[in-house]
């Protein structure tokens, strides 16, 4: 099966007054049709930057320093440049719901009018056709059609988020990237948004989803695969269930075990967390970037950077200890 999107050793740095911030520093991921790829990590680990890199939304102060982003195994988006990708790919092939997108609706336009604008621009539909399409899509996704005649402020946060997701997927893109779509919502609305995302996949409106979140418990519910990022690098990738049951990288282990869910087995384990702060990405630590915080670090970890190595069965890890290299 051909991968939908493959990122190969991509690097994207921000320029700041202190120097280059290595937000995405040699990341490789692949997304197959049918995947819901969860990308997890702490704030500032480069997850959101990665989402922009995957669709080549590169604008100063962010710059692209190398690597390939292959669409359908042939078209290199990195070589196309932002403007071309924006015209040909965005919305139609790859679409992004950035953080706090629930504020993206125009406050002075009714939702339906906003959608009409979008469709008129992209598909050259007239008002009636646009309305019919919007209505059909809302029904398909279980959204109340009345929402089309409302202003954004009349809708709840969860509803606004679902409306935004339905708008960005109107053109049936192959890949939907969502960045922390549920972090501002409470649990019940969270679940509705997650349900809708799975719906989009089940109805073949989108072929694959990249779901960026810091909350592992949410990813556990919807992701089929997970990529765990730390300090601009991917440290572990694999099928969700397998990584969850037996994480190989110490960071993945700590991240999974810092989840606080009301379950007896989790409570028994007690409160555990990752001490310290993530490193400064202007001057990341030598060797493995996690070694200063790692409870199991070895002498080699501060000298040599562990490569991301495949262990078969779609599992990859970048850790000297897990790879038995000490």
């Amino acid at each position: 099966m051909n991968a939908l999107l493959v990122a190969e050793d991509v690097k994207a740095y921000y320029s700041s007054s202190k120097g280059l911030v290595r937000a995405v520093d040699g990341v490789s991921v692949d997304i197959d049709p049918g995947d819901v790829l969860g990308v997890a990590g702490e704030s500032g680990c480069g997850k959101s930057t990665l989402s922009n890199v995957l669709m080549m939304n590169i604008r100063p102060p962010l710059s692209f320093l190398g690597g390939k982003v292959l669409l359908d195994g042939k078209q290199d988006l990195a070589a196309m440049g932002r403007e071309k990708v924006k015209a040909q790919v965005w919305g139609r092939v790859i679409t992004l719901v950035p953080q706090s997108a629930l504020n993206a609706l125009v406050p002075t336009r009714k939702v339906g009018a906003f959608i009409k604008d979008v469709l008129r621009y992209h598909l050259k539909l007239n008002a009636r056709e646009a309305w019919a399409l919007a209505e059909k899509r809302f029904q398909e996704l279980g959204l109340p059609v009345e929402a089309l005649t409302k202003y954004p402020h009349q809708l709840s946060g969860g509803m606004r988020q679902r409306v935004v997701i339905s708008v960005v997927t109107l053109l049936n893109p192959k890949l939907l990237i969502v960045d922390e779509p549920t972090s501002a919502l409470d649990v019940s609305t969270q679940k509705q948004v997650l349900k809708m995302l799975l719906h989009l996949g089940a109805k073949h409106i989108v072929r694959a989803i990249v779901f960026i979140a810091h909350d592992i418990a949410i990813l556990r519910q919807i992701a089929t695969r997970i990529a765990i990022m730390y300090a601009g690098k991917v440290v572990e990738v694999g099928p969700m269930e397998r990584v969850f049951q037996g994480p190989l990288h110490p960071y993945a282990y700590s991240l999974i075990h810092s989840v606080l869910t009301p379950e007896p087995e989790v409570r028994e384990r007690g409160l555990s967390y990752i001490a310290g702060e993530p490193p400064d990405l202007v001057h990341p630590p030598e060797g493995c970037r996690f070694h200063p915080r790692c409870p199991r670090s070895l002498p080699i970890c501060s000298r040599e950077e562990p490569p991301l190595i495949g262990l078969g069965e779609d599992r990859f890890v970048a850790c000297h200890l897990a790879l038995g290299r000490h």
Binding site: V187, S188, H214, I256, S258, P262, E265, L271, E277
Partner: protein
């Protein structure tokens, strides 16, 4: 220690008070010394309004809040009020909003001395000790501005205030919702340590039953301004009575089990 009785807050809006919203509807509960009570509910359920009333930031429409036998709205002098804020301390959701960006972040710690007796000496040492108590390295945070600190560091500084003040009651309103999931447990642990060290009682406000489950002796579930259910964490999670509590529990993403209805 703290007793809340028939607490009601009605927000009115518009000319001649045409629109009104009942934010808190006859809430009754008490907090014992050293006890952690969680107030759990969705957005708009009245949790934060309750917190603001307990902290004496917002007068209730009706009902009473009694702390150590005194109605908190009956304080007459500035001194009494300061005394109350010394004993009952608030920590809020957005640690960024609590800092004045113009000043260095440690100002937030020195400000607590205004609530204490004039004669407190060795302030600098006390501040360093408080920072160490919340597992921050003083040299990493002192002299910095709030935007140079992470969300976790900022919230830890807010908890450091409690180490200086040693209040009897902390009202913590969503203290970790803006902190990374991986750092939440670390901050919650600080509240548990305060409880063990000084017997500090905590009113812990959250939308996350998971956090409440770890923190509390007792959980109150709030829905549309009313307290609909109350009990020990095991009882609430294991045998919820109210339909709202049941729904709330069903919607929590768990790690041991996948949702079946999604």
């Amino acid at each position: 220690m703290l007793k809340v009785s028939d607490l009601t807050e009605v927000y009115t809006a518009g000319f001649l008070q045409r629109g009104s919203v009942v934010a808190v509807d006859e809430a009754n509960f008490a907090v014992q010394e050293g006890e952690t009570v969680s107030l759990v509910g969705e957005s708009g359920s009245g949790k934060t309004t309750t917190a603001h009333i307990i902290l004496r930031l917002l007068p209730p429409t009706s009902g009473k809040v009694v702390f150590e036998g005194r109605d908190i709205w009956a304080f007459k002098t500035r001194k009494e009020l300061k005394g109350y804020w010394h004993k009952v301390h608030g920590i809020f959701q957005d640690p960024y909003a609590a800092f004045n960006p113009i000043y260095k972040a440690d100002r937030i710690l020195y400000q607590v001395f205004n609530l204490m007796d004039r004669g407190v000496r060795n302030r600098r040492r006390l501040v360093r000790e408080a920072l160490e108590a919340v597992k921050l390295r003083p040299e990493e945070v002192l002299g910095r501005y709030s935007h140079q600190l992470s969300g976790g560091q900022r919230q830890r500084m807010m908890v450091a205030r409690c180490y200086l003040l040693k209040p009897q009651l902390i009202v913590a309103d969503e203290p970790v919702s803006m902190v990374d999931a991986s750092g939440r447990a670390g901050i919650l642990k600080l509240f548990l340590e305060l409880r063990d060290l000084y017997g500090t009682a905590v009113v812990f406000i959250t939308h996350d039953l998971g956090l409440a489950y770890y923190m509390s002796h007792r959980i109150l579930v709030m829905h549309k301004g009313r307290i609909v259910e109350e009990g020990a964490p095991e009882k609430i999670l294991g045998d919820p009575q109210h339909s709202y509590t049941r729904k709330l529990i069903a919607d929590i993403p768990l790690i041991g089990r996948k949702w079946e209805d999604i």
